[in-house]
Symmetry: C2
Subunit: 348 residues, 2 copies
Amino acid sequence: MINPDPRPRIGLMLGDPTGIGPEVALKLLDRPETHQQAKILVVGDRRIFNQAAQELGISLHPKLVSMEEPFEWPQPGSHEVAMIDLANIDPSNVTRGKLDPQIGWRVGETLKAMTDMALNHQIDAVCFAPLNKAAINRGGWQYLDEHAMFADWNAHQGYYGEVNIIPMFCTFRVTSHVSLRKAVEMVTPERIKGAVTLAHQVMQDLGFPTARIGVAALNPHGGESGLFGDEEITIIRPTLEKMKDSGLFTEGPYPSDTVFLKAKAGQLDAVVIMYHDQGQIATKLLGFSEGVTLTGALHTIYTTPSHGTAYDIVGQKKANPGAMAKAFEVAVKLASRRGNAAPTAQAH
Amino acid sequence: MINPDPRPRIGLMLGDPTGIGPEVALKLLDRPETHQQAKILVVGDRRIFNQAAQELGISLHPKLVSMEEPFEWPQPGSHEVAMIDLANIDPSNVTRGKLDPQIGWRVGETLKAMTDMALNHQIDAVCFAPLNKAAINRGGWQYLDEHAMFADWNAHQGYYGEVNIIPMFCTFRVTSHVSLRKAVEMVTPERIKGAVTLAHQVMQDLGFPTARIGVAALNPHGGESGLFGDEEITIIRPTLEKMKDSGLFTEGPYPSDTVFLKAKAGQLDAVVIMYHDQGQIATKLLGFSEGVTLTGALHTIYTTPSHGTAYDIVGQKKANPGAMAKAFEVAVKLASRRGNAAPTAQAH
């Protein structure tokens, strides 16, 4: 059966309510174009939703639905938003601006419920407002990071990785949340292939089929012909050459202090980085606060703004929903592409 | 005997004549304030000097001098510049815009002669226009980099390091031109002490006795309490604590993706970096082309613009002498401070 409504179904999560999550999520929902781009299913606690809407003067109301019963999606222009009420966070228990492991546990629980919906083909992507990573961890979800948590829930095998999307370019990580010593050991052909393949897929899904993808070197000056390390010669370059032969073209490896100058100058659309800080030093200086974080290579699509819970401005109604809107747009794009590729996943 | 003229004596070298070195050096010499700040001794080939002056329409002439004979320094406003003519580079053998190992050898030879003058207390600092590192290396000066060459010529033992001075802040390196794998091993208390001590000395000499000096962490998120590496806990933090006890205060270790945001925001004047690319990714994005490179912790002061020979614009008279002028000013400041500390070195 062909679904006559081509909008993908995006699961929206309000983030950690100790921070600005509910505020930027409601501001996103208040934009008319949001509902033209997707059918939105908010998952969380309706009291948190209503509190944020009231404080911000936004006249949106949850239309409570259940996955057990078919329902009509609200149309664009409606004052209703489809919502699954988990009734798991009481606003009177929330102290804003303060890390709370109990809330962290509930945030993880909400994301777990949404992951199950995605794996059951009930939603096409998970988009979440800022969470507090430490609260989730201390609350009991003890993973290295949320990406590892998502990978586990997806029963994922093999490479996956955090993708950072800033206005200027995207980064894809060969290694991430490990010591620098271990990162050097983990620069393997398998992980490089994983990151480069992911870069090609994501850039295509984001609408850049001819994206220029640069690969960063590991060593200073790209190893200076082996003088300062040989991983470029023995591992990175041969792996990239093999991938080119199979159609996955990249440029580089470029020394890490020039690859971001190229990206900044518009000569690269994506950079495959070898270790966490290589990319993060550059993206934080060039627009991370406007950026989007995607968990790449999993069955479920997860996007979120790169900025955090912003405890310094929580409750002041001045949080900028720009990055939240971009995270939503990335979820819509990726879900639409995937829907086209696998239409059964889109039927409701 | 007290020298009545307080200006330090700066040895100026014209750089690699295949690049923009002679152009930016002559443009520096053409500024009246240059001669108010220092007594300048150009060392090189007078034919290269005259060629550049003529092409640029600059009416300066070398006053040939010798270290064997006392001489009068030209006064500010004079059309003469004191010069030692090594007669070692014939302009008719120079092909502009092309790496030439033979020229590289001569460039090294010139710097060696200037180092000897500095070690003999005949000049107070060496300031050189851009050279071609690969040309020097292939020409026969086979060192890891020019800093290692200078250290060898100074018979230096122990820590020394490249210092990068950009308009926003300065960086001091715990490790530099080695593989990332080796850099991790070289993050030792001794090298951290060397870099932090150098940072304090140089910032004071540059006129910032109350400079805020931040130290970068080695691992992502600063190791996340040991989850992603423990060098912050076992090596970096204890070393910094000990140094604070002896009066050398620093901040950090800060994660490498926040330390440069602090520096960019004016909250730090200097950053001690653990490995080459950690600093270079940031400084190249934030103003490296206007920057100055100093070889730190050697007996001889060496400064140079951070930019290269700019083969793409050589001979077009449009090279910007801004960074050259800043390199000169750093040499003047450091030589003046050192001169005050050890007046015998300044007597002529």
